[in-house]
């Protein structure tokens, strides 16, 4: 029966995550942004609690939680600061690959290194990217070109590459950065946001990936990519909801205390109604993320569409809510003594990284017109 009560286990997790978000993450957010790296002590602490391995399978020493639980925890953690969360090392977005192929023989050979030396893996999705080519050559593939900015690229030890070669063959490849002399990372000039997230562009110049390093190809690769993408998208959307909650609470508290024209500015409807709209948008994005998470967990045919819907809304809402927070703080919102200007920048960077809004929307619309999902999602 429709219900919105987290399980006791989830409540436990959220409680711990929210505490650490408020006590440990939020206070260091500025420092992390300045240093452009998350402090190792905090990483250790989060790692200890399992928060770096929510998606990671158990045989990779992860906690392998269902998505509905993960999204709630990520929300709680991101309530501290999205910039910090996006800078956490480890399997990152690639964790989903490990989740879906926990016993892959190729990955198994790296298990020790990845788990015990705490290596970082970046996920590089080249599908639909025209600037990088993958060409079949002598029992292997040659990659050429410069990618778009990728999270964790500047310090990742391995890359999982999703793409198609020039013959249209879908591929999931494994690249060990240190082994590839022809692979460089262009660190770039990032100022907008998520500055600790290791953003970088990969420059491939005849980087050769041998047959043995292909994790999946053809139909198998296609299916894998189609399973990886929605999980990654949804986990990102959940983080955006956490950031929205932070901005909403911060702006509410601020406007309840700040006075102008002889009264708390909350008493002006231009202010309080904006807060009400922020609250609604936050709740809506939250619902759409939870609903999609449950559909993915249940492997429903409509799950992919629900994820796109949730991600689009999270993008749109996080921009609105973080912008509103800055607006409601006035000039104070614009300066770095307060966190909201950073949150607005981080939100916009996050939105830029994880899928163009209009494209998500049109894609979803085409799916709906194509039929099939209407019965599940609308009725």
């Amino acid at each position: 029966m429709t219900s919105f009560l987290p399980t006791d286990e989830e409540k436990e997790f959220i409680h711990v995550a929210k505490d650490i978000a408020i006590d440990k993450i939020r206070p260091v957010a500025r420092e992390v942004e300045k240093n452009q790296v998350v402090d190792a002590f905090l990483v250790g602490e989060l790692d200890e609690l399992g928060f770096l391995a929510l998606e990671t399978p158990e045989n990779w020493e992860g906690i392998e939680l269902p998505l509905i639980t993960q999204v709630q925890i990520l929300q709680a953690l991101s309530y501290g600061d999205l910039g910090v969360i996006q800078g956490l090392p480890g399997l990152g977005d690639a964790a989903t690959l490990f989740r879906l192929c926990p016993d892959h023989p190729l990955l198994a050979t790296y298990k020790d290194d990845i788990i015990h030396s705490k290596k970082t893996v970046a996920l590089l999705d080249l599908t639909g990217n025209a600037t990088v080519t993958i060409e079949n050559k002598n029992d292997g593939w040659l990659i050429n070109g410069i990618t778009q900015p990728v999270r964790l690229a500047s310090f990742a030890d391995y890359i999982v590459v999703l793409g198609r070669d020039l013959d249209g063959l879908p591929l999931v490849m494994w690249v060990e950065v240190a082994e590839q002399q022809n692979l460089k990372v262009e660190f770039g000039d990032y100022r907008l946001g998520l500055l600790a997230s290791g953003l970088g562009k990969y420059e491939f110049e005849n980087v050769y990936v041998a047959e043995e390093l292909i994790l999946a190809s053809d139909e198998e690769a296609l299916q894998l990519i189609e399973k990886i993408r929605p999980r990654v998208q949804l986990l990102q959307a959940a983080k955006e909801v956490g950031l929205m909650e932070a901005a909403l609470d911060y702006a509410t508290e601020y406007t309840a205390g700040r006075k102008a024209f002889g009264q708390e500015i909350a008493k002006f409807q231009g202010v309080s109604f904006r807060i009400a709209d922020m609250a609604m948008e936050t709740r809506i994005a939250n619902h759409l993320v939870w609903q999609a998470a449950l559909e993915v967990d249940e492997d429903k045919a409509s799950a992919g569409g629900s994820v796109i819907r949730a991600l689009y809304r999270a993008h749109r809402s996080v921009r609105y809510v973080t912008d509103s927070a800055v607006q409601l703080l006035g000039g104070h919102g614009y300066v770095q003594e307060y966190p909201v200007e950073k949150w607005m920048r981080d939100a916009q960077a996050q939105v830029s990284l994880y899928g163009r809004e209009k494209e998500l929307l049109i894609q979803r619309g085409e799916q709906l017109i194509g039929g099939g999902t209407i019965g599940v999602n609308v009725r």
């Binding site: 309080s272 807060i275 609903q291 809304r313 979803r364 619309g365 609308v378």
Partner: protein, 400 residues
């Protein structure tokens, strides 16, 4: 556990109400709008089928007693069924026999005797209605400004004043009327009375013509030295004495909103869905499958579908909170504020998809006219914002 899945029982209710909406309501929708009323024979027929509009599920009634051990689900069932009925046609939904918006105050505040007397009249022999009359020419959003007076006399009260915009007010067998004993007392002076059709001094002076919802009656009511016996004071004298320090009549009026707002939101969702389904069907059948128009339609439909789902989840959450007995004023206001506004936007998007042909005999233009009022009655969009903001600021001790 968090879940958006309906139970088997919920699915059955949904399917049943949808079947009724599709086969009994929708076929007469445009005709009823043209006539400006729901045909009497039709009302008679559905009343004999036992179909009524139920806007309340307060604890204490029989159905809920049976469920006492299990989690209550009346509010959730209510919003699920209402969405379907309104999908059929909102004006007809609001015209279905039953206590309507008058039901909740009687159930939440009436004495046992009053509940029996007023709620047992909705039987299959003939269609009957109840109504809720708060709004006056000078008191809409500001319900504390009610001007209708109630003067205590021997054995009862004498009412004088006017009510406007009262849904089913002319045909109702009884109307819950809010009046004031003493304007200077503000909210504390308010009382609720059940005024019965035929009582001397009570009349319906006008049925107003509207932009939409034309098949549903909206009445002006007049009270001229209208005597109301003591037993029709809602809740009896005790209700107001036990809560002497509280603005009780006003509370009776406000208390019902937390359960009726999600219902009204569900209606708006049903309307939006009707427009959406109508338009996507047309795009599938008649649009070219490539090109700019197609892309625009995809975008508009995706946005509509998403907002419909979003409103539904907000509404379900508000209903769920009511079912588990947790304060839900904020969620109820959110559902109403969001659903009311989004439903109009969805209808606008659908009209855009239809283009000029949408003006001629298509359901969507009617839905557009119908839906606007869902952002106005049961508290305007702005009033819902106020309620949300108040709850949002409550932890910081600021009253906005």
């Amino acid at each position: 556990m968090i879940t958006y899945e309906l139970t088997e029982q919920q699915k059955q209710i949904k399917e049943l109400t949808h079947w009724f909406a599709e086969n009994e309501i929708r076929p007469i929708s445009l005709e009823a709008d043209r006539l400006g009323k729901v045909p009497d024979e039709w009302l008679d027929k559905v009343n004999k089928m036992g179909i009524q509009l139920n806007t309340s599920s307060f604890g204490g009634d029989n159905a809920n007693k049976k469920l006492a051990k299990k989690e209550r689900q009346g509010n959730r069932l209510g919003v699920i069924a209402t969405e379907e009925i309104a999908w059929g046609d909102p004006a007809i939904a609001l015209s279905l026999p039953g206590a309507g918006l008058g039901g909740p105050p009687i159930q939440s505040s009436g004495t046992a005797e009053q509940k029996q007397r007023f709620l047992s009249i909705f039987t299959k022999d003939e269609p009957r209605w109840g109504a809720y009359a708060l709004t006056e020419p000078e008191a809409g959003s500001d319900a504390s400004a009610v001007q209708t007076t109630a003067q205590k006399v021997d054995g009862g009260y004498v009412l004088n004043g006017q009510k406007i915009f009262i849904t089913n007010g002319g045909r109702a067998s009884w109307v819950v009327v809010f009046a004031t004993l003493d304007k200077s007392l503000g909210r504390a002076g308010q009382r609720a009375f059940v005024v019965e059709k035929g009582m001397k001094g009570f009349s319906c002076t006008k049925l107003v013509k509207k932009m939409g919802l034309r098949a549903n009656e909206t009445a002006e009511l007049l009270f001229e030295d209208c005597f109301i016996p003591d037993e029709n004071l809602l809740g009896g004298e005790e209700l107001y004495q036990t809560a002497a320090s509280k603005p009780s009549g006003f509370q009776v009026a406000m208390k019902t909103f937390d359960s009726t707002r999600p219902i009204v939101a569900a209606m708006a969702i049903g309307i939006a869905r009707a427009a959406y389904e109508y338009s996507i069907d047309l795009v599938r059948k008649e649009y070219p499958k490539i090109g700019r128009l197609y892309t625009i339609a995809a975008e508009l439909l995706a946005e509509a579908e998403q907002n419909i789902a979003a409103a539904r989840y907000l509404t379900w959450e508000a209903a769920w909170k009511a079912d588990i007995g947790v304060a839900n004023a904020k969620e109820a206001a959110m559902s109403k504020a969001f659903a009311g506004q989004m439903a109009l936007e969805v209808c606008v998007k659908c009209l855009e998809i239809l283009g000029p042909i949408g003006l001629d005999g298509h359901l969507v233009e009617k839905l557009y006219r119908d839906v606007k009022v869902f952002d106005i009655f049961e508290g305007t969009n702005q009033i819902q914002h106020l309620v949300i903001a108040r709850r949002q600021y409550a932890p910081y001790g600021v009253r906005v």
